[in-house]
Amino acid sequence: MCLAIPVRVVEKKGDDLAIVDLSGIRKEISLALVDGVQAGDYVILHVGYALSRLDPDEAERTLALFREAGVAAEVLP
């Protein structure tokens, strides 16, 4: 359930609103559910609200895990 997408915060408008960007599409959303979001951060957006911040380091780590599975796969007989 729950269609949600990672979007980049372009600009904050007061405490609770922000403009986010995805490939050039901009939208105003609410930050009322997440504290400490800054411009440049990525957030998970669902029905017009940010639900959490996306951790770029963890994202990299996850991608590395994928690649690891991939590298190991190539070595298989």
């Binding site: 359930m1 729950c2 998970i44």
Partner: protein, 380 residues
């Protein structure tokens, strides 16, 4: 699209598929349930099943809030629109759910009901502010992902003393549904539905955290891997589940670390518990009455509870006798096992809820997977 495209890399997906095939133990079968409808949709849309070895089978779970919405609740919304003449604000997903008397919210709109599609709970508030002389009712659905926005809207309405805004609350809870499945006779006693593990929902988990699933891992000895929304996330989660099963482990692992923590979003959780309380029981379409599985507005917010405001009573409405949605939602049957699948019941004329939502098991199979029934012959 950053953080999206990288997680849809087909080449990497194939490699993970090869890895899964290498690690499944010979002669062993693995059955995993992806709980979340969004995952069902991703699996179908990207054809993930094609990349998995035959030994691994995915079972579609009931994590589709539209699919588990009982007919009686949709009837409430229709009556509000047609009889009480409110402005009925709803997410697009609910518009075509078939209800009683051959109606749906979309058909009610055609009959003169003021049904408005909204994208966000905030839009419903906006409608109330712009139409002070009309009653605006927000038909709220969704699992824990969608509940915090509703809570915010209600608090905002209270702060603004909006007299013409109220909510029909159909918010339901994930852990309760998982318990219901694990407690079902087919899983627990009869073993007719072999269930080796769960792919935990992505975005519900950003709100509730990974901690609530630890109970299932311990109590029922079933591994849970929380997976992100993208197809590579799902593939990786399946690999992690296979490894847990092989190792004899039953733990909660988090594949979606970039957005999910053990504690989850505490601010959102606090907001929800401030506005809502547990219902003792709630009917889930296909699963029957499930205890402590759904939310209602607290007494302090009674003024915004449409069920109280309009003295609404929910009637139980039985499903069409031939409809197998219940069994399908519990993973006991496959869409093609349903007698009316693809004939009487199609996305154009859905009889049951599994066909209405594009992530319902039946709609997903109909829209994406029907080719499986007939192997394709490509012309020269």
């Amino acid at each position: 699209m950053k953080y999206i495209d990288e997680f849809r890399d087909g080449a990497v997906a194939r490699q993970i598929g090869v890895r899964i095939a290498a690690e499944v133990q010979p002669q062993r079968r693995y059955h995993f349930m992806e709980f979340c409808g969004g995952h069902t949709h991703a699996i179908s849309r990207y054809g993930i099943s094609d990349l998995l070895p035959d030994a691994v089978k995915m079972i579609h779970g009931p994590g589709c809030p539209v699919c588990v919405l009982p007919i009686g609740r949709v009837d409430l919304a229709i009556r509000l629109a047609l009889d009480h003449k409110v402005i009925l604000a709803t997410y697009g997903d609910c518009l075509r759910v078939p209800a009683s008397s051959g109606l749906s919210l979309l058909k009610a709109k055609a009959r003169g009901g003021d049904v408005r599609m909204i994208y966000s709970a905030a839009d419903a508030l906006g409608l109330a502010r712009r139409n002070p002389q009309r009653e605006v009712v927000f038909f709220a659905i969704g699992f824990e992902t969608t509940t915090p926005p509703t809570a915010l809207a209600i608090k905002q309405a209270a702060a603004e003393d909006l007299a013409n805004f109220s909510v029909v609350c159909n918010h339901v809870l994930t852990p309760a549904a998982i318990t219901n499945i694990l407690e079902s006779p087919e899983v627990r006693k009869l073993g007719t539905v072999p269930l080796d593990g769960f792919i935990g929902p992505a975005h519900v988990s950003t709100v509730i955290g990974s901690q609530p699933y630890e109970f299932f891992a311990e109590e029922y000895r079933k591994p849970v891997v929380i997976a992100g929304f993208e197809p590579l996330d799902v593939m990786q989660a399946i690999l992690m589940l296979v490894r847990q099963v092989n190792d004899g482990r039953a733990e909660v692992e988090n594949e979606f670390t970039r957005a999910v923590t053990r504690a989850g979003n505490l601010k959102a959780q606090q907001l929800v518990s401030e506005v809502f309380e547990l219902r003792r029981s709630f009917e889930w379409r296909g699963l029957g009455e499930v205890p402590y599985s759904a939310l209602a507005l607290r007494g302090e917010f009674a003024a915004f509870d449409a069920e109280r405001k309009f003295a609404l009573e929910t009637k139980h409405v039985a499903d069409n006798k031939a409809c197998e949605c219940g069994a399908i939602l519990r993973g006991v049957k496959h869409p093609r096992d349903c007698k009316i699948f693809g004939t009487v019941c199609t996305p154009e004329n859905p009889v049951g809820s599994c066909m209405v939502s594009s992530e319902g098991a039946c709609a997903a199979h109909y829209s994406y997977g029907r080719y499986e029934e007939d192997p394709i012959k490509t012309a020269a």
